[in-house]
Symmetry: C2
């Protein structure tokens, strides 16, 4: 029924460790997450297993302990999640949501510059207004 698997909140925490390290053993992930959370090591093992099943992680099994590597890039994963969430929103509200996000996130100087450039491009072709379509049948949801 579900087209594409998605990553749960707890699974995200595991992926973040592995993305940041590039690859990791379960031991490494467990050590770090035991400091960050109050999860038992068994819980973390479960999460690693599920991430493999969902094809977000792959174990290099040539020698033990296995080394786990990401099968999806962090950027791709972020894109997927953020897009999925924004799909829930009224299209009229997306601008506001982004504004809110900017207000509540710590963003570096260079990222701010980058975003401004994006906006400068965007403004050239942006519509005067975006209408709410919450009540309309969306014929096309590609």
């Amino acid at each position: 029924m579900k087209e594409v698997e998605s990553m749960s909140r707890a699974e995200w925490q595991v992926m973040r460790i592995i993305w940041t390290l590039g690859q990791a053993t379960s031991k490494q992930v467990i050590e770090i997450l035991e400091r960050k959370t109050d999860w038992k090591s068994a819980t973390i093992k479960t999460l690693i297993g599920r991430l493999q099943k969902k094809n977000f992680l792959q174990a290099d099994e040539t020698n033990r302990p296995y080394v786990y590597k990401p099968l999806i890039s962090e950027n791709a994963a972020i894109h997927e999640s953020v897009t999925e969430l924004f799909d829930n929103l009224c299209c009229m509200k997306k601008g506001m949501a982004i504004d809110d996000l900017i207000n509540n996130s710590e963003i570096s100087q260079s990222d701010i510059v980058k975003i401004m450039q994006t906006l400068n491009q965007k403004v050239k072709t942006a519509p005067e207004t975006v209408n709410c379509n919450c009540l309309e049948a969306d014929l096309n949801e590609e």
Copy 2:
């Protein structure tokens, strides 16, 4: 275990109708969602019921059919969801995520202007860089 209830994807669709109409009967919600989705009316009734249980909706039961009203504003709900999602992300990646979002969302002229103003404020105090904390214990998650 769960501090605050959150809204599922399907429940969001129901709320969007009710926010947009201000209030609605189940019949109205069902009619609209039957055009937008392939859900059966029974499914939509279940969702309305769950939203009431989670205190996102309240039924005015003075006369039938009941009129359902939101107990949370659309903006508040958006803030909650978006914040929850961004909590998953590496803080170093949030700027990029926002940039990606802007690239992929239709945003009105006025929203763009608003966002630019926000950025202009933000840039004054923004840090040069934001460091990844994916491997660190977060002592404080208030």
